[in-house]
């Protein structure tokens, strides 16, 4: 019987050998693919079992992890509630992450390369691993002022520091409470998620950067004016048509001025006055003469078409370049297919304020390790040169006159010279226009550039205009910055 016993031993060896192969397959060869499978909660447990670093605004954490025990040891909480929701994002067991929680996850989770040494330190000392912290550029007072001024109106506010590109305020309204999505009560989380997604105000969208894009209307005239001045064919004194409407070549249509009133009684205006009165026929004529491509190039130089990560992603604007004359006239006043995010408009004002130099917008100021040592200090970075300092100076003068005795008088701040531009963007025949305002102050030493959009007229509805609805919001933001 020894022969068959030996062969049986071979069979046993084969059985065990096949087990070694199948375990190798599961645990090594195919492990990555298996781990990515549906319903694998181990990664989540591991992530939630680690102390996540805080997100800090000013000196205070706006996202913080507290040990609560249970399956998911740490609960993520947002002490400021909805105020910073679009910056921090949420940290949900069920729905993943958004905002800085997503873009700077490796720092917050403590897995970033920059935190390598502190991680080694933690391993050596046997401490529980914990994450680094992310300091945002937001200023609590400015953010608060922006949110309060915008109130319940739908829209967005974004404020930049022109010299550095730092984002001082970023508000998207309506907002939401990230605590509800980051709760450990998964039923509550699902309920909140469904509620937020069903909400027609789309509170989860960050309107300031990456939500829907808006037609900019007349705030886009800064870009058109910049393109005109940069072309060398125009000066602020260049005469332009300033009647109640502009005949559009090739068509029977006209480009009417706001309220169908003439810009000037005599039917002609200068470029500087056209900016002050937001004269549509004048800018329409520039659009026809320059062509859409020149305007598109100017917009691109300000950064409209760039794929920016600040580190939150910015949706690039759409500025068509291949247009016929009537379309170019409409594009020149920010209509037709021109669509922007509020940050593009803020970057435009910032470019004017910063002598034509566009700084890359930044939402993160610094990164610290778990031991609070600064690991990375984020330095201002130029993005592009949008136009010459001379053009910037001319645009500044025009924008100052807009606030002094033009359409933007609601943005005046006593004792401070403010430069601004209004916009009232048509959205179609059935809905009220969006109210825009962008500005910077003080005009001679700019501390802040801001863009405000209030959807569908905000509180004023069809009676809206950028000057009446959006300018007071921008003023509140500028005042908050100047009061620092």
């Amino acid at each position: 019987m020894n022969g068959p016993l030996r062969r049986l031993s071979v069979v046993v060896a084969l059985l065990l050998g096949s087990l070694l192969l199948s375990t190798t397959w599961v645990q090594f060869v195919n492990a990555g693919e298996i781990s990515a499978g549906q319903g694998n909660v181990r990664e989540v447990y591991r992530e939630f079992g680690r102390e996540r670093g805080p997100i800090v605004v000013g000196g205070d954490p706006v996202a913080v992890s507290t040990e609560v025990g249970g399956d998911y040891r740490f609960l993520r909480e947002y002490p400021a509630g909805p105020l910073y929701a679009h910056a921090t994002g949420y940290y949900s067991i069920v729905y993943g992450t958004s905002g800085i929680e997503r873009t700077n996850n490796d720092v917050l989770a403590g897995t970033a390369d920059a935190l390598f040494y502190s991680r080694i330190g933690q391993i050596l000392t046997g401490e529980d691993p914990s994450g680094g912290s992310v300091q945002l550029t937001l200023d609590p007072a400015v953010q608060q002022a922006a949110a309060e001024a915008l109130g319940d109106q739908r829209g967005a506010v974004i404020a930049l520091e022109p010299a550095t590109g730092r984002v001082l305020a970023m508000v998207s309204s309506p907002s939401y409470d990230p605590d509800r999505l980051s709760s450990h009560d998964l039923g509550d989380v699902r309920e909140a998620w469904e509620e937020l997604n069903a909400d027609e105000g789309r509170p989860l969208e960050n309107r300031a950067l990456s939500g829907r894009l808006y037609p900019p209307g007349s705030v886009f005239k800064i870009v058109t004016a910049a393109a005109a001045l940069e072309s060398g064919d125009y000066t602020p004194e260049t005469e332009l048509p300033g009647g109640a409407e502009l005949d559009l070549p090739l068509t029977d249509a006209t480009l009417p001025n706001y309220g169908r009133r003439p810009c000037e009684a005599d039917g002609t205006t200068t470029l500087a006055d056209a900016m002050r009165t937001s004269c549509n026929p004048a800018f329409g004529q520039i659009g026809i003469d320059l062509g859409a491509e020149a305007i598109r190039e100017q917009a691109a130089e300000i950064g409209y078409l760039a794929d920016l990560d600040i580190p939150l992603p910015v949706t690039p604007a759409t500025v068509p370049g291949d247009l016929n004359a009537p379309q170019s006239a409409q594009a020149a006043i920010g209509q037709f297919d021109v669509r922007v995010a509020p940050i593009h408009i803020a970057m435009t004002s910032a470019a004017v304020a910063n002598d034509g130099l566009v700084m890359t917008p930044q939402l993160v100021r610094s990164i610290r390790g778990p031991d609070l040592q600064v690991v990375e200090d984020i330095q201002p970075e130029p993005l592009s040169t949008a136009f010459s300092p001379e053009t910037a100076a001319a645009l500044t003068d025009m924008m100052v006159s807009v606030v002094e005795d033009g359409t933007g008088t609601a943005a005046q701040i006593p004792g401070v010279q403010v430069a601004g531009k209004t916009g009232t963007a048509q959205t179609g025949n059935d809905t009220d226009p969006h109210a825009w305002f962008t500005s910077f102050a003080p005009a001679d030493d700019p501390q802040v550039a801001v863009a405000v959009v209030v959807e569908n007229g905000g509180d004023l509805g069809s009676e809206t205009s950028g000057g009446r609805v959006a300018a007071p919001v921008a003023r509140a933001v500028m005042e908050a910055v100047l009061a620092r």
Binding site: M1, N2, G3, P4, L5, R6, L8, S9, V11, V12, A13, L15, L16, S18, L19, L20, S22, T23, T24, W25, V26, Q27, F28, N30, A31, G32, I34, S35, G37, Q38, G39, N40, V41, R42, Y45
Partner: protein, 464 residues
Amino acid sequence: MTTVVTAFSPGTRRGFELLLIVVSVAVSCAAYALVGLAVDGMLPVRLLAIGGGLLGLGLALHVVIRVAAPYADPVLVPIALLINGIGLVMIHRLDLAEDTSFAVRQLGATAIGIVAAGALLVVLRDHRRLRAYTYTAMVVGLVLLLLPLVPGLGQEVRGARIWIDLGVTTFQPAELGKIAVVVFFAGYLVVARDTLSLVGPKVLGLRLPRARDLGPILVAWVASVGILVFERDLGTSLLFFGIFVAMLYVATERVSWIVIGLGLFVAGCLVAYELFGHVRNRVRVWLDPFDPELVTGPSYQVVQGMYGMADGGLLGTGLGRGSPDIVPFAESDFIVASLGEELGLAGLFAVLVLYGILVQRGLRTAIGVRDGFGKLLAAGLAFSIALQVFVVAGGVTGLIPLTGLTMPLLAYGGSSLLGSWLVVALLLRVSDLARRPDLPVRPGAPAPALSPQDENPTQVVRLP
């Protein structure tokens, strides 16, 4: 110059066994300490008590072996103790995570199993005495197998009717029935082997047995199918039939039995697949466990087990640092996945290799022992361990469909542990005879009562 005659015998290797037992207990204690450090941040309070208890049990068995089976294989007990110890630690670790107290009961079962193994060695001084109980073993085996079907006594747990309720505790009689059936097969086959291997008709180069000799294999097959049908116990059914075919082959040296056995097995599988929803379910889960329709339902357990093992990777998360408690029945059916997660591929390989050594020592014993009954008994018991390990670990890793068997010595379960320790005791008993020198060690000691060769039936001379 005088010749010093000492009692030292180079053949027993008992000192080596003692050393290995101490190492086994030390490894288990180290694992236990690691769990304590990982989960509570301190050494377990009862480390010395439990480690001492385990060492005491191992030493007690060692002493019994020294007295009752001095030539027994010195590796069997240390390996069994080590697998048992690793299982205990993992069950304790899962207790901490799930707030259960399985480990205490498993510890009790370990004590009972080791004491029973020692008792068996003392009572059964020669395994050949079991031959006298061939048909008793058959009856006992059948009764134990059928016991769960008795109304009022049998219990259905998770769809399988394999438990009986003894009032104070529940018991899986098949775990002991398995041993009885192996004893019966060994006793029956050692007598019937020549009849079964007689020349039969040759078909397609394969020498088939005579039709009337097919009876026993058909009976075994029907019994297996019966277990499958009435007790819904896929694993035990597969195990019995597999052991029977393997022993039949060893006894007769005829490949045709394997072909017939596999043919019957495949036929049985096809019929079961057609007839039983639970079998179809297992196959569906096996073919595509990650099917989105199945992931939250029928294949939840398998998939969660695989997630755990994949998470463990090569070196594992470390004892106490994974989440094996996510997997349902992590301490019993899926203890392989729990070990894979926390000890990694390396640790799981080590455990599988331990089983490999255990089985190999059993088969080595079968080759070494000179009586046919002993050969079949040792081979059947060793193969039963191998097949059980294959079926369980193969099911957990997706190699074969999942069946409801437990990992011998490792998984939570008193009946299984008791049965496994009795298997170890029987292997010890057979190996004692296999390794015993022909000559008396000490002058004056009585010669063995039976010369093993006499046990073998007269060789039938085969015609070419």
